[in-house]
Symmetry: D2
Subunit: 430 residues, 4 copies
């Protein structure tokens, strides 16, 4: 096992913080016991929690106006793997990478898999890309891909997805996530029904090539890059597409892809009910697909989503096994720091949701006791579970204070030296 | 045939306006001929167009803060029928009434039907009401109706819907529209999945009692009266409910019941594609379910919706036969005037949509010629079809200038005398 | 001093809960000490915290569709005062009532003041009402009040506001809050500039009659009851009106009166900066002016608002002294329970905001260390301050477990007997 | 005078279309005469109408995900000027260019001015850029510019704006438009008040350097590139900044920079009333700052904005002289075609607004006759003014059918040859 940051440094830092952590942990354990909860069981669940990191999240993001690169950005998938190893080492809950093709394409996938394995990292969902044109590409995706009016473009996009599945097999993935930017900017530009029919036919063609132990996840998005209509614009079109495509085709929920004010936790419940919840792209947002750090703006909403997820586990809802992934754009922070922090914030919501007294909640629901039902959720949310998260990290050899330890390691400064600035895209798109 | 307003007055007014109308009509006819369109065919389609009027729309609406009654408001369904007769006589395109129960319940429905028939009016969809408690009602709908946690409440709500169908049969209706206010105001108050499962079971129970030549239309709404979650909150839940319930269960689209920014015309297309478009509640809105006059704020959006409808007709899309109805709240206008005006505005969108050069549009769509596709729609929308609408009215004995003729008739002043103010609800709810 | 609920019952319940509370309190105190915070100082600030209760909030609210009354609703301002006394006794932080006129008008205000004083309650901002018509009113507010096109209506509305100030003087209030429903439902209905000019002239006329030690607070609202335009639609029009009207005219922020996605904490900061933050109407909302319980949906947003308020105190920002008030509509809960709970939730946000390490935050802001700045706020927010709130309540003779104690008291059941159902408005407005 | 497209071709096309245009024009003139309007006066106003074109709009836009370049894109400001000449020649109403610095910086501005003058083009507002880093720039704008925490960055940004004014003087501009992307992505990242105070100080420093016959326009935007808070986030902050900065500092309204559902025409009225309406960036949008073609989605909203503008002219509102500019991003169309079309669509709204019967409207407003007020606006909007626009173009030597004539000219194909693809940014930002 290889560690990007010295385990000794981690242990040293942890040793300093352990006495205070132990006090907080003991006090919380005592309080939870009074509430009928076993902190040891919670620790185990915190230790088992894992969320995948998107390979592209390790670079600095940007907007169409500009990108302001950070120091030491990874220049290829091997360096991204190293950064992911840091994220997992510090957070203790991010042991899988979600690659994006063709961005992360390599000549020898066994070499890449060996590289990740030495860090103890695996590979989660593979992502295809038919929203950009690649240098040697025959047809352009300017006017769509899987739903394009021209069959040649659709075939190219289908073939790309099938290729991505092949690459994913070599890495050990079991899921392909399909997001397309297809849509229109002008009323009339696209015939809604014909475009959706073409999308469905393309989705079925990809599904035909899906290995039997794989799932295909469809991602919807309200807008951007298309600004008048988008082919898979909401969970309604998403679930219909998943139902039409096949049993192992499911819907993926990105928290930033909805209309304003929409109740996302309810959509999660609907997808669970209809056995179509494939997984999540976690992030936070205020205006559109802002791709901010998970839980940084709406921690209670994130908790309410996990309340649905934990409840589905509790009820042993058939077919429930969603995949968790971060999907964020880090424009003003060190991406490694944001990803460490965000993995922890999602884990925090999960642990808080485990504290919900589900028997009491069900009783309040039956009695229409709205305020006590609400307070039952709040009692869980208001509990500070930081000691559980920190202790789980310590137990797994991760850092009690992840950010401080990462900063103390000097990893970024070393990366800045090892990975000189290659220029990259700074100029914006406008 | 009985007319609430003297046909002589209408004819006199029309005679005054006919010479100028004829000029505009001839000029438009000549222009349309150049564009390959036959104004005579358009006139026939304008004459055939009809949209139902909601019985409750004839009274002044209000908000939870206050209601400011107008003069001469109808005090019962018989007087509402008279007002609807005025609306149809002036607009020439509103020959059906949509009743709401128990508001419009009478002891003798044959008497009511005879009353409406003498004005040439028929009856459209019947609407049930499980969002209010009635004086003699056993169970309360405070915490829901079809999805209530308590089976007794659900059974009462189902029985009411079946009763409404019985009343509807006596009037000659063929559709029941089901809108419920069920939902929650607090996270945790309601278990999303269980509530939806209960709703589905109730919907199926109603469907069991549906006559074979009837349809059941489910109406979704994002919020209000429930402010955290609503059981049928969007078209996604709506179409799933309709699919689960049965073939003749379809989705109804109210233009004001969506999240901000949502592309409604695309939802219409999806429902058409899946053979689940039941009908419409037309109105306009800026913020929420504002229930403003149809087309008064977003005439182009209304046109784009009719573009989908006319296109489905053009393509002979199987199972396409949606019901059109106005559903507005008139807080600051004479309801009769708003309903006359709104019927005409919906008719205007329909006629404009007929002007779209669909062959050219399809070609532009195939060629990804976005700007010409957009301009093809705009060419239809920019055409002033007022002369077609006015001539169709004239041909049907309706008023060329509907509002002026209505005002000249003194109908409202007579109603004010005949229907003394009964007080009614003014005080708001807060 | 008179107590609506037996102090013995409260003491008995508190005694049962004190041992466990003490443990949590001690553990928290120890942790906070490590973080450089003094729990005793925080307790004092929690004890000093107070938020006014709206008299009308003690009755069950509703929507335009229906109102479902609860048992034992107060039938007049004297009974509302009793309910407010319960809220204050249980929460320990709600010692003032905000009355609404003419709803709370009495013949003898000294009697009312004596009534409230025996419960230790005072009177906060007075609210005028020009959004409803009263039985004996000469002019109607159907088309506006302070901005009405007709001078007679404006004068009536101004006179009412001056009258409300007179009544407020008798109760000891020092603030009048002015909210009007003026606006329009149709483009063209109102001339925006002329209407605003009339509003400004009316506001100045009221300000002329404002006692020297009073403030006038203007409340903005995006929509409802007007659905196309509202005269004071946002903080921009609000602050301009306050600036034009006079120095002691300030802006009031209701959390539910903004456009979707708006950053409310930033508006709070702008009003503080320009010395125009008059006060708050606290509540929570998801869609529009939902008037849900404070902090029940967006507790982090409420915390961020208090972060601005505590920061202004910390910086000794000149002219900073906002008034806090709840303004909620309780449709599905016992209003007393919601108000107790909500007062505590606002207090919770205040105490959490006091935990923010402002020196560290300022340093992170200077260094553009976005993630540590964010985590500094989160560290405060994630701390469970429940023991501080509970201990402050205990110290003031309020209830450690407010809702359980209230329920145990049987107050609502007694009220149900003492205040038989008077019917009231159930039917909705539609 | 130099023409990018052969005037003979234009004349030839116009000759073919003139007979039919004349018929439509005569019929419309006759109808307008009946309505008390003089088509000749309208033609003159259409001929006088002008809207500036943004230099950067002539290239293909994109999103952070990708950019799909078109053929023959201009590679520098000289080629952009040529494209603008085409737009003006075809539309007859776009004789000014708005440059953006440093993108359009040249060594010799007199050469550039001579180049534009030979096409009869002038220069409108200059735009500064402190939202991107330029290659040789000392300080980075990653964390802001005019409001940056570091004085050195602010000084660099101020100096750049002053430099832009100098360049603008050489081109004959009279306005500088200041838009900054300053803001934050995390709660706590920025101290709202301090950031705004720094912005105000910077704005004043720029204003100090403003020539006496210039105006400075501040542009607000709700979000993007900052996704939690933006320094000038709405018209409230904008007008306060303009008021603080100086008399000739005004607010600019971009139609896509507002919160969902906001009533933009009312904001326009407020800015007019307070003498702070500097100008417009016209475009259309559905979700965020979508930068779609003007009037392509919400033509009635654009009309209502012009209703305010024409009304201010009509009332001779002091200090009213806003600057009109297009600001769009053309991702799926030929930018020249979109800009020709959009200039015409804005001109269409202007001419329609001139048709409003303002005396009648004022009377309806006084009488609270909401429906007739609404219909008065609609009567103007529903009139098809295409013949007026086309005749004005013909009179000015522009093209009756602008897009068809442009396409017939082969200009784009020639540009594709003359301007070989230079690669450019295709890859997106993510």
């Amino acid at each position: 096992m290889k560690y990007p940051i010295s385990p000794d440094l981690v242990a040293e830092k942890n040793d300093q913080l352990t006495p205070d952590l132990q006090k907080d942990y003991d006090a919380l354990g005592e309080q939870l016991e009074r509430r009928g909860l076993d902190i040891k069981a919670l620790i185990r669940q915190a230790e088992d929690f894992d969320i995948a990191v998107p390979s592209w999240g390790t670079g600095t993001g940007g907007t169409r106006f500009a990108r302001f690169p950070g120091e030491g950005e990874p220049r290829n998938i091997f360096e991204k793997v190293e950064d992911c190893a840091v994220i997992n080492q510090m957070s203790g809950c991010a042991s899988e990478i979600s690659p994006h093709f063709p961005w992360d394409k390599v000549d020898d996938f066994s070499e890449l898999k060996a590289h990740s394995s030495q860090y103890g990292l695996g590979w989660s969902s593979v992502n295809s890309n038919t929203f950009q044109d690649q240098p040697d590409q025959e047809c352009s995706y300017k006017y769509g891909s899987l739903s394009h009016a021209d069959a040649a473009v659709r075939e190219q996009a289908i073939a790309h997805n099938l290729q991505v599945i092949e690459w994913g097999k070599q890495l050990g993935s079991k899921v392909i996530t399909v997001w397309v930017g297809d849509g229109s900017n002008h009323p009339g530009q696209q015939h809604f029904q014909r475009a959706f029919e073409r999308y469905l036919a393309s989705a079925k063609a990809i599904y035909q090539g899906l290995p039997e132990d794989w799932e295909m996840h469809i991602e919807h998005k309200m807008f951007e890059p298309a600004f008048y209509s988008t082919v898979i614009q909401d969970w309604g079109s998403n679930i219909l597409a998943a139902m039409e495509t096949g049993e192992r085709c499911k819907s993926l929920v990105d928290l930033g892809h909805h209309a304003p004010n929409v109740n996302i936790e309810m959509i999660v419940s609907r997808l669970i009910q209809f056995k179509k919840l494939g997984g999540f792209h976690f992030n936070d947002s205020k205006y559109g697909d802002d791709d901010l750090d998970s839980g940084s703006l709406h921690p209670y909403q994130q908790f309410l989503i996990f309340n649905e997820l934990v409840d589905a586990e509790y009820r042993k809802q058939p077919g429930f096994a969603p995949a968790y992934m971060l999907d964020q754009s880090h424009n003003v922070t060190d991406p490694i720091e944001s990803l460490i922090n965000s993995a922890t914030e999602v884990q925090r919501s999960f642990i808080k949701a485990l504290l919900v007294d589900r028997k009491a909640l069900e009783r309040y629901q039956s009695d229409n006791d709205a305020i006590m039902a609400s307070n039952t959720l709040k009692a869980a949310f208001n509990t500070d579970v930081s000691p559980i998260l920190a202790m789980a990290r310590k137990n797994k050899g991760a850092a009690i204070d992840s950010l401080a330890t990462y900063r103390a390691s000097g990893y970024r400064q070393q990366a800045a030296k090892a990975r000189p600035d290659t220029g990259g895209n700074r100029s914006g798109i406008v």
